[in-house]
């Protein structure tokens, strides 16, 4: 101890001690959160995902037109540009009117901008009816323009339906299929991996062989075979559920491996022995003592499994054996982009694909950040 009451070095010591103490006192979850916050890409990815899911949940509110409504006069209309300047002067956000004409030589239909007609963008306007959160009938929309002006933020497709509204509604299906699928994989993976790792013996051998077998199969051909078995006549919800099940058939195997490996490692720990001596049942030991021990690894694994399922749904629907119209999903929307000539004339048909890439990228960033954070004591 120093003899002087205001010793500088002592104060520094005390400060570092306090920081160290905070580190040692912090729960592992706090440490993980701190580490995650340092991963900038993961933060960006997480924020983008939150925004995208928010838009998907309130798809009806944010959409401009009814996603099923056809605009026969406006098929393949290019994305409407929102403008701020009219004749060189600053103006509130508005769009010009859209005229259809004929190309002077080819006689093909072309869209022209009518600079005489101004339609200011209005907020919280009344439009087509939808159900907020699927429950409350509502007519209020975030943005819109007065009739007969049109606002196609992402353009329209072959039947003249608004791509922007369809992308929003498609997000609901495409993004939820990953979550539901992962939930199923999570259940199967924890159950089978847990049983395999905890009991060992022949049960373990059988489950491991099944996993090896499933993992050595090429995913897409297997999915194609299973998806082709879904009858076209089935109702939409059932098709959705079955496709999700198909996607998670292979998803659980990776998870089961992680669970098993961790269980094998953890079951030798003293606290498990203590619980067993105390008379806890197997189920209780697994769920109360073992699972929390590697929850963080599970979360990492799940985050990285979601994009895999999103890609799977998109791919299956794209080749026409996943979800089918009239269901709106990003994969179903991309069916229209199968032809190069169509795409080269109407590149905005690729927007759903761009959405897939962005969402999958963000999930990968978040998963990377979580992986760094999962082991906070490193």
């Amino acid at each position: 101890m120093s003899t002087q009451p205001f010793d500088d070095t002592g104060a520094v010591d005390a400060r570092t001690n306090a920081a160290e103490e905070r580190y040692y006192l912090a729960s592992s979850w706090t440490l993980m959160r701190r580490r995650f916050m340092k991963h900038k890409l993961a933060l960006v990815g997480g924020t983008v995902l939150l925004v995208v899911y928010f838009f998907a949940i309130f798809a009806g509110f944010f959409s401009v037109a009814d996603p099923f409504e056809r605009h026969p006069d406006h098929t393949f209309a290019p994305p409407t540009r929102v403008r701020l300047f009219h004749e060189g002067r600053l103006h509130r956000p508005f769009v010009y009117g859209l005229k259809t004409g004929r190309h002077p030589v080819t006689r093909a239909k072309v869209f022209e901008i009518d600079r005489e007609q101004l339609y200011p963008i209005r907020f919280f306007v009344a439009g087509h009816e939808y159900r907020l959160l699927g429950l409350f009938p509502n007519r209020v929309h975030f943005i819109g323009v007065d009739e007969p002006g049109v606002l196609f933020l992402f353009g329209t497709e072959n039947l003249g339906r608004d791509m922007f509204s369809r992308v929003l509604h498609g997000a609901r299906i495409s993004l939820s299929i990953g979550l539901v699928g992962v939930a199923i994989s999570f259940f199967l993976g924890c159950l089978l991996g847990g049983v395999s790792g905890y009991f060992g013996g022949w049960i373990d051998t059988v489950i491991q062989r099944v996993i090896e077998f499933l993992q050595s199969l090429p995913t897409i051909p297997l999915w194609m075979g299973l998806a082709a078995a879904v009858p076209i006549t089935w109702p939409q919800t059932r098709t959705y559920f079955v496709i999700t099940l198909i996607l998670s058939i292979l998803g659980w195997t990776g998870l089961a491996r992680v669970v098993r490996g961790k269980l094998l490692q953890l079951r030798e720990e003293d606290y498990v022995m203590a619980a067993r001596v105390y008379g806890a049942s197997d189920m209780r030991i697994i769920t109360r003592h073992l699972l929390p021990g590697f929850m963080s690894y599970l979360i990492v694994h799940l985050t990285l499994a979601i994009p895999f399922m999103i890609l799977g749904e998109t791919a299956l629907s794209f080749i026409g054996i996943g979800l089918r119209p009239p269901v709106i999903s990003w994969g179903v929307m991309l069916q229209q982009a199968q032809n190069v000539r169509t795409v080269s004339l109407q590149p905005w048909l690729l927007i759903p694909g761009l959405c897939v890439v962005i969402v999958v990228l963000c999930f990968n960033f978040v998963g990377d950040g979580l992986r760094d954070a999962a082991d906070p004591y490193k």
Partner: protein
């Protein structure tokens, strides 16, 4: 080593039997069968249908038997090397699949080689020059490559070449060589058509390997033995290749098993989008028209390729890392 290989091969044969059963179950799943599609077609053409006709068709296609009988028939003919007839094309499956399978395997293997040739140097560079511009480019490419679905990449490449060069890549041969016999000209033509499919199929794998190699090499580079070797005066390049890279390649080689099925998967979709005359589009067609022997044989063959890939990767792993024992894991 020899006994290990024998054991693995026996094990693989067991898996193949299970595989054939699963495949057969999958192709039997759809309600109705090819016959009902066929009859519907006849009805549409207003051809009178009698019970005798249906019965004779049923016998001809062997569709009336119970599941296990059909399965054992299929298995028996498979063992004789006969994969049954394609209903859709009215030809033996062997004939239909032959060249397509050869093209598929060529495509998958050349993609595999290309992926390693490109990914390993980039991965090593990325790890030894951590936080350099090149490293960031490789990282961005890695993430993008993993996030872009194959078919979308194919579409984008087709879109770009179509808008900027005025032609759409597709197929593996030009029109004049499509039906021609194999010749030098046809091979050259094939090589000309390869780049786009190779890029599309290989991107995801390349991205993944760069990321794995970079991670594991970074771990190795910080280890004591690297420092020791350096203080003893081993040249940087020699040092890198001789020790850490060899260790860091381990996880890569153990993924060959998974990479081959992944490449086959990716190739299936890509082939459909780029209309390559490989196995993918044929599988889709067969599944859609419930041509069960054709679809079943294709799924079976592709999956068998996957199993072989796993075996090869395990053997390679033993060869490169003497610490791994010749025992079946578990």
């Amino acid at each position: 080593m020899a006994s290990y290989i024998v054991r693995r091969i026996i094990y693989m044969i067991g898996l193949l039997v299970v595989l054939s059963f699963v495949t057969f179950a999958i192709i039997q799943l759809p309600p109705g069968d090819y016959l009902s599609t066929y009859i519907a077609n006849l009805e549409a053409q207003r051809i009178p249908i009698t019970d005798e006709l249906i019965e004779s068709l049923r016998v001809r296609y062997g569709l009336g038997d119970p599941f296990l009988v059909q399965y054992s028939k299929w298995m028996r003919s498979l063992l004789r090397g006969d994969m049954g007839d394609s209903f859709m094309l009215n030809r033996p499956v062997n004939q239909v699949i032959g060249t397509r399978l050869a093209l598929s395997v060529t495509l998958s293997l050349s993609t595999l080689v290309l992926v390693y040739l490109i990914a390993i140097p980039i991965g090593i560079y990325s790890a030894t020059h951590q936080h350099s511009v090149g490293d960031y480019i490789a990282t961005v490419f890695g993430f993008l490559g993993l996030a872009t679905p194959n078919f979308l990449l194919a579409l984008i490449l087709m879109y770009l070449t179509f808008t900027y060069f005025g032609w759409a890549p597709g197929g593996l041969f030009s029109r004049e060589y499509m039906a021609a016999e194999w010749s030098f000209g046809k091979v050259v033509d094939l090589i000309k058509h390869l780049p786009v499919p190779l890029i599309v199929i290989g991107t995801a794998g390349t991205a993944e390997i760069i990321r794995i190699l970079r991670g594991s090499l970074l771990d190795e580079l910080g280890k004591q033995y690297v420092v020791t070797a350096r203080t003893k005066g081993v040249g940087e390049r020699r040092l890198l290749i001789k020790y850490p890279v060899r260790v860091a390649l381990n996880p890569i080689i153990s993924t060959i098993g998974g990479l081959l099925p992944a490449i086959i998967s990716g190739a299936t979709l890509t082939a459909i989008v780029l209309s390559l005359p490989t196995i993918g589009p044929l599988l889709l067609q067969a599944l859609q028209s419930q041509d069960m022997f054709l679809a079943g044989s294709i799924i079976m063959l592709l999956s068998a390729l996957g199993l072989i890939g796993t075996l090869i990767s395990d053997l390679l792993l033993v060869a490169i890392d003497p610490r791994i024992r010749f025992e079946v894991k578990g």
